[in-house]
Amino acid sequence: MNADFAADFEKRFSGGPVIRAHLACPTDAFAVTVLFGPSGAGKTTVLRCLAGLERPDAGYIHCREETWFDAARGIFLPPQQRGIGYLFQDYALFPHLTVAGNIRYGLSQFPRAARGRRVVELLDLMQLVGLEGRYPKQLSGGQQQRVALARALARRPQVLLLDAPLSSLDAPTREQLRRELRRWLVDLRTPTVIVTHDRVEAMALGDQVVVMDQGRVLQSGPVYEVFGRPADVVVARIVGVDTVEPAQVLRVADGLATVAVGPVQLVALAEDPLEGDVYVCIHAEDVIIERGSVTASSARNQLAGSIRTVSREGPMVRLNMDCGFLLAALVTKQACEELNLREGERVTALVKAPAIHLVPRGSHLT
C-alpha cells in the first residue's frame, strides 16, 4: 500500500451525517478514480478531506511515502503542503486576476524565468492562447473550466482532485469537454479523483469507480465491473444501468456503429463520431427474450445464449444470460412462465440498435 494514494477516514458533522470513505488509487500506474453517487452522498466532503480543506475525525490519508492525515498520530497537513491540484465545482477563478494571472498564481515557488514558460505551456495545452489578458468574467463556461484546470495543473500536483468538473456547463459544451478532459488526463498521467453524479461522465472519464450513498462507500472497482455487476440492489439503483461492457468500435456507416464486445458484434446508433474504445450500455427492460431461433425481426441485434441466473424483482423477473458477455434482461413473471425460462435454457435476446447506448472512452489505455 505504500506506493499508493490511500485513504480510510471518517468525518462527523455535528447534527449531520457521518461520512466514511476508503479508497486506494495506484499513483505509479495512471488511473482516474471516480467518486460516484447521488447528491448528498458525501462525495464532495470526501474530496475536501483529501485536499485538507476538511479535517476528518478518524482514520488516515497517505500519498506515496507522505502521511497527509493520521488521526492516531495527530498528523494533519494543511492543503498548502499536500501538492494537490483542486478544481472547484464552479471553478473559483480569481475575478480580479487575468487568465495568465490565475494560472501564474500558484507558481511562486518556481524560479522567475520558469514561471512565464510554465504559463505559456499551459495556455498552449489548454488552448487558451490569446485569452491570457482576459478576466474570468469575459470567458465562456468552457474556457473558464480550462483556465481552472490549467491553474490546478500549474504546480505539477501529485494528485488532481476534480469536483464535478463538467456540471456547470451547458450540454453541448459538456459533451465536447468530456472527451477532451479524458484525453488531457491520459496525456498528463497525474492520478486523478473526480466527483460526479452523472453516470455517463463517470463511465467516460473513470477507470475505477467508488459508489457512495448516504456517506458510505457501497462498492468500488473497475468502471465496467461496478456499473455492469452492481454488488446489490442499492448500488444497482444508483448506477442505473444493467449491462455495461467494454467494447471496440469496428466501423461506422450510415449512422450505425458496429462494435465488438469480445467475440460478439453489436449494432448501435452512432450519435457522435466514434472510434476506439467505448462502453456498451443496455437497460435490462430494453432486452426482448425469444424462445428458439428468430427468423424475421426488426431488431438489429439477435444474441443467442443460455440463461445463467433467474431472480424475482417484484412483478418482474431478472434474467442474466451468457451470450458471449453477460446480458441482463427484465421480463414479466407471466412471460417467464409461458416461455419456461429457467437456468441453463437456451434463448435468443433481441435488442434494437437505438437501445444500445455507446459511451466513448476517447483514448486507448495500455
Binding site: 480543506l53 492543503p79 511562486s108
Partner: protein, 220 residues
C-alpha cells in the same frame, strides 16, 4: 478660521483611522468567519457606540481611563502623565467611539468574499496571510475603503465624547466641532461659518473621491 483646531482634528482623525485599521481588520475578519456561539456578544459591544448617547459613552470612558482606574494608574506609572483631558485620552475615546464605523463595513466586505476563492488559494500553496493580502483584501477593497473613510469622517465630526473626555484645551483637545460651538456661543458667526464651510467642503470632497474610486473598482 481656527487652524490649530483643524490641524489637531485631522491629526486625531488620521491616528484614529490607522489604529482602527490595525485593530479592526483582524476583528472584522474574525467576526465575518467565526462560528462561535457567543459571537453576538462581541458584535453587540462593537455596535454599542452607534446607539449610545456620546455623553454616556464619554462618561464611561472618562471613568475607565481616570487616575483611579487600573488603566489610568498603569498609564500614569508608565508615562508619568494622566490620560483624561489629554490628546492620548482623546485618541482612546475616538477609537472606541468610531469602532463600529470601521469594523462593520470591514466585516460586511469580508463576508462578501467567496470563501471558495480563499480555499482555492490555499490549494495553490499560498499561506493564510498571503491569501489574505492577495485575495481577500483586493476583493473586499471597496468595503474596506468605506470603513476607512467613515471612521475618519466620524472622528472629524465627533463632539460629545470630545467634550466629556478631552475638555476644551486649545492645541491639545480642542477639535473643530468644539471650536465652532465656542465661536457660536461667543456670537462670532463669521469665524464659525468659515470653519464650518471648510469642514463641509472637506467632507464632501472626501466622499466624492471615495464613491468615484468605488465605482472604478466595481467596473473592474
Amino acid at each position: 478660521m481656527d487652524w490649530t483646531a483643524i490641524g489637531l482634528t485631522l491629526r486625531l482623525a488620521a491616528l484614529t483611522t490607522v489604529i482602527l485599521v490595525l485593530m479592526g481588520l483582524p476583528l472584522a475578519f474574525w467576526l465575518a468567519r467565526s462560528q462561535w456561539r457567543w459571537k453576538f456578544l462581541i458584535e453587540a459591544v462593537v455596535a454599542l457606540p452607534l446607539v449610545l448617547p456620546p455623553t454616556v459613552l464619554g462618561f464611561y470612558i472618562l471613568m475607565a481611563i481616570g487616575p483611579r482606574s487600573p488603566v489610568g494608574q498603569l498609564y500614569e506609572a508608565l508615562t508619568d502623565q494622566l490620560l483624561p483631558f489629554s490628546f492620548q485620552g482623546l485618541l482612546v475615546a475616538s477609537v472606541l467611539y468610531s469602532l463600529p464605523f470601521a469594523v462593520r463595513p470591514f466585516a460586511a466586505a469580508f463576508a462578501g468574499v467567496d470563501w471558495r476563492l480563499v480555499e482555492a488559494s490555499w490549494c495553490l500553496g499560498k499561506s493564510r496571510l498571503q491569501t489574505f493580502f492577495l485575495i481577500v483584501v483586493p476583493l473586499a477593497w471597496a468595503g474596506l475603503l468605506t470603513g476607512i473613510v467613515l471612521s475618519f469622517a466620524h472622528t472629524v465630526g465627533e463632539f460629545g465624547v470630545v467634550l466629556m473626555v478631552g475638555g476644551n484645551i486649545p492645541g491639545v483637545t480642542r477639535t473643530v466641532s468644539v471650536s465652532i460651538y465656542d465661536e457660536v456661543q461667543a456670537l462670532n458667526y463669521a469665524a464659525a461659518g468659515e470653519t464650518a464651510l471648510f469642514l463641509l467642503g472637506l467632507s464632501f470632497g472626501v466622499l466624492c473621491v471615495t464613491y468615484a474610486l468605488q465605482r472604478r473598482m466595481v467596473v473592474l
